[in-house]
Symmetry: C2
Subunit: 262 residues, 2 copies
């Protein structure tokens, strides 16, 4: 048997009331946390752990399942179990919708990708008129019809976010906002040109496990939650002019905000 | 066999390449989403689903596991599988650290609980001096020692959040901040009395699956992620005077922020 890295894994505690598969998962997790197994490293094999701990294969498999459920490792069929590489993280700053960015003709996504040195892409773009859901309708002041702009964002080829922007149809119809490419600065720049000077945005943040559809669209690894962000844009008259409903891979994002103390 | 609610569950699609246990999970999820099974409702039993779909018990169990992993249902041993009740949600608003709240002698947690009509509690309070981790040290301007205030928050008896505040020791030692109860308005009120007038807070938000310790501390159901929030308080001289490291049950919170458009 190949030797385990010396000293990384200890013995089981036979007096503990913690199940053996959990004790093994605890030891592996601790070794990962300490960097004894780094990103992309292969964990000891089933056979090695069976031998080391004197347990059944099923017990070792259960330990791996625990770590997979926590998003710490990935199982590659026939190859073994690996420490999940941490993908590059996008940091979304509070000033990402500042007018100076729009004035430079940049959309928020491009601003952030630039800052991160990553290659941004948008795909699966779909623009259509539809009836809003109750929730979207309530947030937008009850328009009967909306323009919906759906798209997926990728960074360096990896899907990180799926977003749908909803705008009251009376405001967006027959404008560049209804075009697949709304032009430099994105739809916020167009809204301002149409006389809806933006005042502020409200953002609501939730986290939850993804639906199967979200797992597929964002190619999420096991144990990776999503951040659900709903943003409402208000113009200077206080009218909500857009709601953007966004689902983000939680392992690809840090959201940053500034709060007033006064 | 007890009749299933009529029309709620359909047939399987034998031509689909989607595994049968996933098809069953899809049907149950859709029925939950539509409210055909409400919060706290019992799903059809294993035996009923075996009969309805003509599949094995193992297949039905795998379907339940999928829904459990998504946080949609809870299995109660010997009783069945139930739609997970959605707990009351705390909405954290951008103005929660506004001075007017402190001036009224209220801490942020009390302000929010008041707003939600919930009964707030704090337990497991621990105050001690310690060496900061590298991350906390970097955020606080590299103090050699910090005062750490650990506590757990409960709403209506349910743990919702575990938080640790770190303050540079030179600033907090021998002040009311080092007392278990720092007095009305909490530590932010005390910091201001000590001459550190607060200017703003930076918050960083991540979401991930909980560690086993966090599952235990927050009594998290299966399939419930945590929101990890790190807040840094700055005084008007730009000095970081506190870092608060918070882990929240993701099913108990909505975070709300306002972003400037200018």
């Amino acid at each position: 048997m190949a030797a385990l890295p010396s000293g990384v894994l200890g013995a089981l505690d036979p007096t503990s009331d913690r199940a053996v598969f959990r004790q093994i998962a605890d030891q592996l997790r601790e070794a990962i946390d300490k960097g004894q197994f780094g990103e992309g490293d292969k964990l000891p094999s089933e056979a090695e752990l069976v031998e080391h701990f004197g347990v059944s294969r099923m017990t070792v498999r259960n330990s791996f399942s625990v770590l997979q459920g926590e998003g710490l490792v990935l199982a590659e069929h026939g190859k073994g179990v690996f420490v999940r590489p941490r993908p590059p993280v996008r940091r979304l700053a509070s000033d990402r919708f500042a007018r100076r960015h729009r004035d430079q003709g940049k959309s928020a996504f491009i601003v952030e990708a630039d800052a991160a040195g990553s290659r941004p892409e948008v795909d699966s773009l779909e623009v259509k008129e539809e009836r809003p859901s109750q929730d979207i309708s309530a947030r937008l002041g009850s328009p009967r019809r909306v323009l919906a702009r759906r798209r997926r964002y990728l960074l360096d080829g990896r899907p990180v976010e799926f977003a749908v922007s909803y705008l009251p149809l009376d405001l967006a119809r027959n404008t560049p906002i209804a075009q697949p490419n709304p032009g430099p600065g994105g739809i916020y720049a167009r809204l301002e040109e149409l006389g809806h000077r933006l005042d502020h945005f409200d953002e609501e943040i939730r986290a939850r496990m993804p639906s199967p559809h979200e797992v597929k669209t964002l190619q999420l690894a096991s144990g990776v939650p999503v951040i659900h962000l709903i943003r409402t844009a208000y113009d200077t008259e206080g009218r909500p002019v857009e709601v953007c409903d966004t689902v983000m891979a939680a392992d690809a994002y840090v959201l940053a905000y500034e709060l007033p103390a006064t």
